[in-house]
Symmetry: D2
Subunit: 488 residues, 4 copies
Amino acid sequence: MLTTNPFQSEDDDHFREECAVFGIYGSSDAAKHGALCLHAMQHRGQEGTGLVTYDENGDQFHAHRDHGHVGEVFGDPNVMAQLTGNSAIGHNRYSTTGDTLKRNVQPLFADFEFGGLAIAHNGNLTNAGLLREELVRNGAIFQSTTDTEVIVHLMANNRGSVVDRLAATLSRIEGAYSLVCLTRKKLIGVRDPMGVRPLVLGRIGDAYIFASETVALDIVGADKVRDVEPGEVIVIDEKGLRSFFPFPTLKPRFCVFEYIYFSRPDSIVEGRSVYEARRRIGEELAREAPLEADVVVPVPDSGVPSAVGYAAESGISFEIGIVRSHYMGRTFIEPSDEIRHLGVKLKHNANRPVLEGKRVVLVDDSIVRGTTSKKIVEMVRSAGATEVHMRITSPPTTHSCFYGVDTPERDQLMAAKYTIEEMRRHIGCDSLVFISMDGLYRAMGFEGRDNDNPHYCDACFSGDYPIRIADRETPPIARQLSLLKDAS
Amino acid sequence: MLTTNPFQSEDDDHFREECAVFGIYGSSDAAKHGALCLHAMQHRGQEGTGLVTYDENGDQFHAHRDHGHVGEVFGDPNVMAQLTGNSAIGHNRYSTTGDTLKRNVQPLFADFEFGGLAIAHNGNLTNAGLLREELVRNGAIFQSTTDTEVIVHLMANNRGSVVDRLAATLSRIEGAYSLVCLTRKKLIGVRDPMGVRPLVLGRIGDAYIFASETVALDIVGADKVRDVEPGEVIVIDEKGLRSFFPFPTLKPRFCVFEYIYFSRPDSIVEGRSVYEARRRIGEELAREAPLEADVVVPVPDSGVPSAVGYAAESGISFEIGIVRSHYMGRTFIEPSDEIRHLGVKLKHNANRPVLEGKRVVLVDDSIVRGTTSKKIVEMVRSAGATEVHMRITSPPTTHSCFYGVDTPERDQLMAAKYTIEEMRRHIGCDSLVFISMDGLYRAMGFEGRDNDNPHYCDACFSGDYPIRIADRETPPIARQLSLLKDAS
Amino acid sequence: MLTTNPFQSEDDDHFREECAVFGIYGSSDAAKHGALCLHAMQHRGQEGTGLVTYDENGDQFHAHRDHGHVGEVFGDPNVMAQLTGNSAIGHNRYSTTGDTLKRNVQPLFADFEFGGLAIAHNGNLTNAGLLREELVRNGAIFQSTTDTEVIVHLMANNRGSVVDRLAATLSRIEGAYSLVCLTRKKLIGVRDPMGVRPLVLGRIGDAYIFASETVALDIVGADKVRDVEPGEVIVIDEKGLRSFFPFPTLKPRFCVFEYIYFSRPDSIVEGRSVYEARRRIGEELAREAPLEADVVVPVPDSGVPSAVGYAAESGISFEIGIVRSHYMGRTFIEPSDEIRHLGVKLKHNANRPVLEGKRVVLVDDSIVRGTTSKKIVEMVRSAGATEVHMRITSPPTTHSCFYGVDTPERDQLMAAKYTIEEMRRHIGCDSLVFISMDGLYRAMGFEGRDNDNPHYCDACFSGDYPIRIADRETPPIARQLSLLKDAS
Amino acid sequence: MLTTNPFQSEDDDHFREECAVFGIYGSSDAAKHGALCLHAMQHRGQEGTGLVTYDENGDQFHAHRDHGHVGEVFGDPNVMAQLTGNSAIGHNRYSTTGDTLKRNVQPLFADFEFGGLAIAHNGNLTNAGLLREELVRNGAIFQSTTDTEVIVHLMANNRGSVVDRLAATLSRIEGAYSLVCLTRKKLIGVRDPMGVRPLVLGRIGDAYIFASETVALDIVGADKVRDVEPGEVIVIDEKGLRSFFPFPTLKPRFCVFEYIYFSRPDSIVEGRSVYEARRRIGEELAREAPLEADVVVPVPDSGVPSAVGYAAESGISFEIGIVRSHYMGRTFIEPSDEIRHLGVKLKHNANRPVLEGKRVVLVDDSIVRGTTSKKIVEMVRSAGATEVHMRITSPPTTHSCFYGVDTPERDQLMAAKYTIEEMRRHIGCDSLVFISMDGLYRAMGFEGRDNDNPHYCDACFSGDYPIRIADRETPPIARQLSLLKDAS
């Protein structure tokens, strides 16, 4: 059914952000704003999307959640017409293996004594397995395999107001998360104590908006108010906006990969332009690893801003030497003897006149398994390049992420298994340089990485995990939900 | 999507049975047997159907549940191929107002500490609302609006083995129900203490089958072992079959309407042929209300066996004076000025040569709202009948059913509001006779109704409800689940 | 997609009527009347259906044609809303092998110099292959494999008014056909010179209706005016109704099988009630082949009227000994070792209490391949019948039909290969009697068959083909259209 | 159903290429190659796509044609598995108003005396209306509204071999066209006498390929052999490749807009790199209209290569100041008072940090109606740009195209109605410069436009139409096919 997910290809060798969240309160167009904001954040989750609205007239929540892109799921005016109400929350989600069930599409909704509650979540709870095990032991019935449902059950098992239950629930969960909740009276936004995942507060007219990225505010013409702060809970209701901090104070550790790859270049994340950050990483890389070459060629699309920076700093000509198709990402035709390397060819094509007889600098954002890089280097060489030099705008990704990013196990991470020289040989390029950790921090405006007190979460490069991963330390029993498999 | 549901028409003036259940243990063809048995019981529920199988190899439950007829839902060989395993349970369900959600299609499935449990249910819990309220207050999260989910949550909130939990759960619930449950090791069948709803045990080779009616056994060539007894719990596992009776002994009160209308004529229900019962009711009616006439005409299809009996007893000629179309029951074209009485015409057509100039005895099973009867009498008169006499094979339906049958509120039951003479005038026939209560019991082989100790549940005729309706006595608060409405 | 076609089963051993046609002129509800009339004639064609309307306002034809039942195809109010206009024609069609293409669903539509023409057809042209070959040689491009398109091309290759072109076309075609045509100004109905296929003219208010059977008139409350006569062309336009006979006069030969099986029992065909005809055949059969027995049991549904007649004449009790399911006819589950004889079981179930220990007379309409009869006899015996006697309400079907009925090749017709005694042994019944040819004519009100000048077309029993089959005499080259196969 | 067509938005202000064609002969993977090549040419037609293959084994053509993207239509392995055979032709098509009928999806297929013929076509016949009128007058029945069907009928009305019929047909048609035809024995490629539309010949192993663009060859790893020449007919069969030129020699006039916008930048068209052409147009524009500015910003994606050239020539910094979303192009949410300018915002977002306080040069390829340009200038100004200068890489589009490109009528072309100064004021930019006609030809390697003998078809800029438009000179009667409208 899905057609043009540029991330679904096996040949897309990237970490994958797992979600975007959205919330709005006080708008006469809550669902429309939601669909647009989710569309603007489509890159953060392309497997499924959903909206839940609340309509005071009739005291009714309305939901629509399905697999597919926002434009598919909310493209039907009849669907939109049913999503009445002045407040809403929404969600985009990624597929992770074995998880493509419709019952996992968020927001979740549950009935409580006090009424309905909808909830959506970007991130990952690192003790969800243990909590789930305990909840099931106490009689909870789970319907999805998402860790978000753990939050719902914890809230159901507490007493008191929504905010009291939420506070009690937050004291139990560990991990990285940005949450939005909707009740009949309130919209609530929460960011985890270290602020690993982003969440921004915006305003349009009298309405407040929560969103994972500022591009969501741009598309509806909303103004950014500020980032939700790490550890902050913001409650919005008819009395206005109230903020509190239920956690002990911790040093924030925002995810640096949001700058390198996850966020859209036109987003302002934690006060910093993603485009400028990428461009400066490119400049830094040109200074760290200068070379003689004829053209700087980005691996599209993520490599473009850094390549612009690299070209400007190095004085080497910036050219579109690889053209990307946006129609289709899946390997929709099985390869055969006659037809090889389809994955990369469906998405990328060499622009021969730019490459032929040239010394080429390829700028890309990361190397995860290395499969795509190898194919791209081959393709560029086949197009006649005399030298191919790879410049990577992140340090080597040597560790998995447990904070809401879909990463392979360590033994599949090329940089965890091989030296850089081994990687270079495998990929087949003439030189391979990753930006240094200090260089990355310099590009972000620091003097280098403060190893005692680093500013960002960079665990995937450093192995320095700021939040413990309880489910790994004491593995819960195998997940029962996997017992049920829905036919087709 | 649905195409030929002969019961969905507004012009189908009947009570509606709400469900069929099925279970099998020990068959290498569990899903196929299930699909066939559910097909044979399609008349008991046409809105949706589902199967859950358990496959020991891989320790995996498989489910497929959807709206539509059995032939639609299980007609895809790819779907069937995924439903592997040697045990299964299944369900057909009716639509009741506001309840057409896919999440309500059974069997339900839930994860427990001991593993997965699938459950399906025919009947109605008369204290489900109160139990649900209590469960939500204690932190349970409901996903469906079915009372079956109450059973699931009660089991989750108990401790011990499946059978222990089931026994504890049965002690809490009230109502009429035939249940089947499937775990990794066991198939369980339960019938409520009064045995209001049917459940039969069959055998094919080494496999055991539970089914609501014997026609399900016929279609797969299984032998009937016996009816599950009122209040009996039968547990089947690798050690064989075990039976126990967790309830205090009560006088059984099987639903007499199963004979009059719900069951298929070729079923043997509680040891009695439905066809013979209906034929004898027709004979009894001919004796109770003899008259001079030219032809006996059944209102098809349910009136046929009684009309055969009536004709044989009275000596009046049996003729097919009304022809029924089986292609379509819904009023699929909206009436306009030019096109009237569409509902009945889509399904019934007068066979004029049989009716013209004749004194006609129409034999039908019941009159609920009276709308269809009026139209049929008009149709028969328009075809030239000189007299139209209605003979009804049930007593007047003056009360609603709360035991798993979809009936209108009392104020919509024609017989609750009008005298029989008023009904006759409204319907427009020359005479209208319902079988007497004693006549009904005589046809069933008794001397008449033992009013101190009646053999059947006949509450819809008598108002004598054998099981209290707790939710009516202490209405629970409005159901929160109604707070969420899924768009389209 | 198709769900409940009771004729698609391999175990349905019948000849199949190929089509129903419909036309209306002068109604403000043309499409609604069309959908209803086609629904009433659903039994004449269940693979696909279509309507073309003409709307004077905007000078626009509207079409909707699709696979499926009338209730499915025209159940969408949005579809109906687009079929505006005061005149319409429509069609139901059967599937014949290799022919299930959507492009074959009628009515066909084509552009002519004079404007658009829609056409629908019940029957078969016996020289279609030769005409098609000639047309292709002269540059015609065919889009369907139906012989109806031959008529369209012949009309396109003539000159003058629609009526002139039609007359010229009729002079070229041979076979059995009832045609309806719609232009911007006219509705035209045509019956072939021998009147093999039925076509009736009705009237509702100021509107005229053509339909294959009178049940179509009944459903909309129209009055029958008369049968269109063999060889008659009726042109209806704003000036009223005009009739002409372009053919030399021939003795009519109406299809006698319409009475035995094709038409609905409540239709009046050529002035005769189908129900009465069947009942009288049953009576005749009881006289021709009397025997001692306990019950007369119809093979449902077609055997019912004859069984009523047989029982009345013989004095043997009429009982519903076989119950038919109307939910599903397709063999939707593949048989396996454990599950045998599924085909017949999906549709028919023995009603054991009626059969056990009884001498049973089974009444059925025909035996084509004999496969179903054998299974039904087995089923009845398994239910305990001590004797099983088959009585068939048609003579043995020894020849194929080339006049619009889907019949197997001769070598698959059981009666063409075996003696009646051999058939009896194969089917496994205690006696097998077909009505005699003279008995059939007697039941229809004649003294017997006038062999020099028979009143009906009975070629399938007699081999006496009233119309030559040119395509068989000079086989055209293989059909090119079969060269293209649409994927999925 | 369509999901991500970036061209469907009302806010996409471009001419639209109408088609891509493909053919292959002698490959064991004909359909796979076809699907891949059509995918690579998706930008040339996104409404529908189709393939017809021919399989010698079984002498069978197979077809699959549907609305949607190539990845949707051919993503189902079951579909692909049915498209067996060693030769194939294929087609992508655009939607033009009133033309979205499935029957218009190509390739067309027709039966001839000699067997089947499939045909696909990129371009437009300028005398199709007159030819069609004549054909209908002579009895042809049309099924589609495409001019391709005119070719089919002309071939059917001729005699002799396929090649003879084709030659005779080509002598009748006028216009711009690249055709591919497939018979049981032959693959044929044709380019119109002036070579207005592209067609290239490639080779992979022993198989030959025809395609509209070289990117189709790249994706399967085929080598380019050469362009099919203007007026050339290439016939490929088991004897190899044969070429002939049935037309009188004419000066070629290739469509210059293929370089400016239609073709992919990585295609080599008529021996010239599209990317290099665009880059050189950017350089030329920088020389023709130099100015002081801070950043050069492309309107993505088509403006990128020219912006690279402009930046390199002018020395002004190249930056990604506008970010384009590739998920969705349709205006899927209706604007409301709160939500304005949605069209452009769904696709484009300003990258504020790059634009704020800057003098911006926007580089875009063309201005058709001017609607998008106005919104983009507003968006860039709102992001803080102090000056906005538009540079357009084509001359003003003052005339419609009749050669296979979907253009508005002249009265909707902004440049046909207004002076450049008026356009600038309407769009709201500080300066607006189109490349000069001579500048365009210089960028293409000429000294300027040779007005007596121009090298390209540039009618949309110059009004100099090289092929007469017969249907405009003598308008045929209104098209009858429009008489039939299929309901949903």
